[in-house]
C-alpha cells in the first residue's frame, strides 16, 4: 500500500491556543478515513494543513511532498465547508473554470450527467438550494479526477435522496481506489462508509482504528426482548444500567452486552424475540465527548 498522507508530531497554534497537539497520522491509498470530533476539535485545521492552506510545526507530507505543492495539488480534490455562491455565475460556468485548472479534467457535461445534475447546468449558483450547492461543490471537487479527496461536512443541507446519491457516489470512488478523508457530524453516515475512524479530541487522536475495534473498547449494548417477567428482575443483572418497557418489549441498556447476555441465559425459556444492538458510533462518540465543551 502506498502512503498518501504522513504527519509526524504535527502541532498547530492559533493565537495562544494549541489547536493540534501531537498528530501522528499515516493514510494509505484506497483508505476511506472518517475524521470525527466535536466542533473546534481541530478537524478543519488539520484538513487545512494537509491542503497547504495553513502551516503547522512538524513533518507533513501529501503524496511525498509538502502540502500545497503544485504536483500534489493536481491529485487532490476538496469539498470544504461553505459553498461558492458567486453572483452572475452558472453551474456550467463554474465547472468550466474548474476544468481549466487541471490537466486531466473530466468533461463538465459528462460529470454533471453522472451526478444527475444536468438540469442545474444553466442555473445561477445564487439560485440553488443549500443541498444543490453542496452537490455542485462535489462536482467541482471531482472534475480533476483526483486520487485523494477531502470532504469536509459534505452532506450538510442535502435532503435524504441527495445524501443517498452522494454516498453511492463515494462508494463508487472507493471501488476506483480513491483515498478519501471525510469529516461529518452525521456519524451514522461515517459509520457506513469509513474503513477507519480517527477521533480528534482536544488536538490529539484519542482513537485510530476500525469501527469494530472501537466497539470492542466500548462494549455497551441495548438488548431488546419480549417477556412475561417483571422489569425489576433485570435491573440487578450484571452491567445493566437501565431497564424500561416499550410496548410489548423490554429494553435493557447494558455497559457490557456480552456479560448481560450471559446473565440472561438461565431465563432464556421466558425470553422471546431477543436482539442485541451494539452501541453505534454516535453512542460511543457521545460518551467519549460528553466532558468536552464544544468550542464553536
Amino acid at each position: 500500500m502506498t502512503t498518501i498522507i504522513q504527519t509526524e508530531h504535527l502541532k498547530f497554534n492559533y493565537d495562544k491556543k494549541q489547536v493540534l497537539k501531537d498528530i501522528n497520522l499515516t493514510v494509505h491509498s484506497g483508505e476511506i478515513i472518517g475524521l470525527i470530533g466535536v466542533n473546534g476539535a481541530g478537524k478543519t485545521t488539520l484538513l487545512n494543513i494537509l491542503l497547504g492552506l495553513l502551516s503547522g510545526e512538524g513533518a507533513v507530507s501529501v503524496f511525498d511532498k509538502k502540502p500545497g505543492n503544485p504536483t500534489s495539488k493536481a491529485r487532490i480534490g476538496s469539498m470544504l465547508q461553505g459553498d461558492m455562491i458567486i453572483p452572475g455565475i452558472t453551474v456550467g460556468d463554474m465547472l468550466k473554470l474548474a476544468a481549466e485548472q487541471t490537466e486531466h479534467a473530466l468533461d463538465p457535461d459528462s460529470l454533471l450527467a453522472d451526478l444527475n445534475l444536468t438540469q442545474l447546468k444553466t442555473q445561477r449558483l445564487g439560485n440553488l438550494s443549500g443541498g444543490q450547492l453542496r452537490r455542485v461543490t462535489f462536482a467541482v471537487a471531482l472534475i480533476g479526477q483526483p486520487d485523494l479527496l477531502f470532504l469536509d461536512e459534505p452532506t450538510v443541507g442535502m435532503d435524504a435522496n441527495a445524501r443517498k446519491a452522494f454516498w453511492d457516489q463515494v462508494e463508487q470512488l472507493r471501488q476506483q481506489g480513491k483515498t478519501i478523508v471525510i469529516t461529518s457530524h452525521y456519524l451514522e453516515e461515517i459509520q457506513q462508509i469509513a474503513d477507519r475512524l480517527l477521533i480528534l479530541q482536544n488536538g490529539r487522536f484519542t482513537f485510530d482504528g476500525t469501527l469494530q475495534q472501537l466497539q470492542k473498547q466500548h462494549l455497551g449494548a441495548t438488548i431488546t426482548c419480549e417477556t412475561d417477567l417483571q422489569p425489576a428482575i433485570f435491573s440487578g443483572l450484571a452491567d445493566v444500567d437501565q431497564v424500561h418497557s416499550m410496548g410489548d418489549k423490554l429494553v435493557i441498556h447494558s455497559r457490557n452486552g456480552d456479560q448481560t447476555l450471559k446473565a440472561l441465559v438461565p431465563m432464556l425459556d421466558r425470553l422471546h424475540q431477543i436482539s442485541l444492538n451494539r452501541e453505534s458510533l454516535e453512542d460511543i462518540f457521545l460518551q467519549l465527548t460528553k466532558q468536552e465543551v464544544p468550542q464553536s
Binding site: Y14, D15, L53, K73, L80, G82, L97, V140
Partner: protein, 254 residues
C-alpha cells in the same frame, strides 16, 4: 494562457455583463449626473458651458472610477474570499495568479468602459471635442490615477463585516467626491475643507485630467500626489491583510 483566458471570460460575466450594480453605480449613475448637470442645470456663456461640459466629463469619469473601486471591486474581492472562491483557486494546480491578473485586467477594462460611456455621451450629446493626443493622455492618466483608488478599494475589501464594508464605502466615496470637487467646484467649499480636498487622490487625478483636456501645463505635483497615495494605499492593503490573518479570517474562509 488557456487558464487565464478562461478566468477572464469567467470574470467578465460576473464583473461586467451580469453585474447590475457595476452598470448602475459606475456607468448609469455618473452618466445621469453628467446629463443632469450639463443639460438641465446649467447657465452661463457658450464658452463657459463648453468648458464645463469637458471638465464635468473629467469629474464624472473620476467619480465612476471611485464608485467602481470602493463599491464594486471592494465587495467582489471580499465576497470571493468569504465564499471560498479564492481558496478554491489557491488549491488548484494553476493557483491564484491568473485570478489576480484577470481581476486587474477587468479593473482596467471597467475604467475604460467608463471613459467610453461618459466620453461617448460628452461627444454625442454635448459636442465635446478632444484630439487624439488628448484622449491618449486622458487614458494614460486614468490608468495611472486609478491605482491608488483601487488600492483603497482592495484595502476596504479586507473589512470583515459586510455591513461595515458598506458603511466604509459610503463614508469614503461620497465625502471624497464632494471635497475633491467631483460634484461641484472645490472653490465653493470652506477654505479648511479645500485644504483637505486638495490632498485627496481623486483631486490629483481630476486635476491632471482637467489640465490635459484644457491643454493647460501639466502640474507634475499631481503625479507625486498619486504616487504617495499609491504607496499609502498599498501599505493599507498590507496592514489590513495582516490584521485579517491575525483575526483568523483565513482559517474561517477555508
Amino acid at each position: 494562457m488557456k487558464t487565464f483566458l478562461a478566468q477572464v471570460a469567467f470574470d467578465g460575466k460576473r464583473l461586467v455583463l451580469r453585474n447590475f450594480s457595476f452598470i448602475f453605480l459606475s456607468l448609469l449613475m455618473p452618466a445621469g449626473f453628467y446629463l443632469l448637470y450639463t443639460k438641465a442645470m446649467i447657465s452661463g456663456s457658450a464658452v463657459a458651458i463648453k468648458q464645463f461640459n469637458i471638465s464635468y466629463m473629467d469629474q464624472m469619469i473620476v467619480f465612476s472610477i471611485l464608485l467602481e473601486a470602493l463599491f464594486s471591486i471592494a465587495s467582489i474581492l471580499k465576497r470571493d474570499r468569504d465564499k471560498g472562491f479564492t481558496t478554491f483557486l489557491r488549491l488548484s494546480p494553476k493557483g491564484v495568479v491568473p485570478y489576480y491578473v484577470s481581476i486587474t485586467f477587468w479593473m482596467l477594462m471597467m475604467s475604460l468602459l467608463s471613459v467610453i460611456v461618459l466620453g461617448g455621451i460628452a461627444i454625442g450629446v454635448n459636442n465635446v471635442s478632444l484630439d487624439a493626443g488628448q484622449w491618449l493622455g486622458f487614458l494614460g492618466i486614468i490608468l495611472v490615477g486609478q491605482l491608488p483608488i483601487l488600492m483603497i478599494g482592495i484595502a476596504l475589501s479586507h473589512i470583515r463585516r459586510e455591513e461595515m464594508l458598506s458603511l466604509a464605502s459610503n463614508l469614503l466615496t461620497f465625502p471624497m467626491a464632494i471635497i475633491s470637487g467631483l460634484w461641484w467646484p472645490i472653490s465653493l467649499l470652506p477654505k479648511w475643507l479645500q485644504t483637505i480636498g486638495k490632498e485627496t487622490p481623486t483631486y490629483f487625478v481630476n486635476n491632471l485630467l482637467n489640465q490635459v483636456t484644457s491643454r493647460a501645463t501639466v502640474d507634475l505635483s499631481n503625479l507625486v500626489g498619486i504616487a504617495v497615495w499609491f504607496v499609502l494605499g498599498s501599505l493599507l492593503v498590507v496592514v489590513m491583510t495582516k490584521h485579517e490573518q491575525r483575526k483568523g479570517v483565513a482559517l474561517g474562509e477555508a
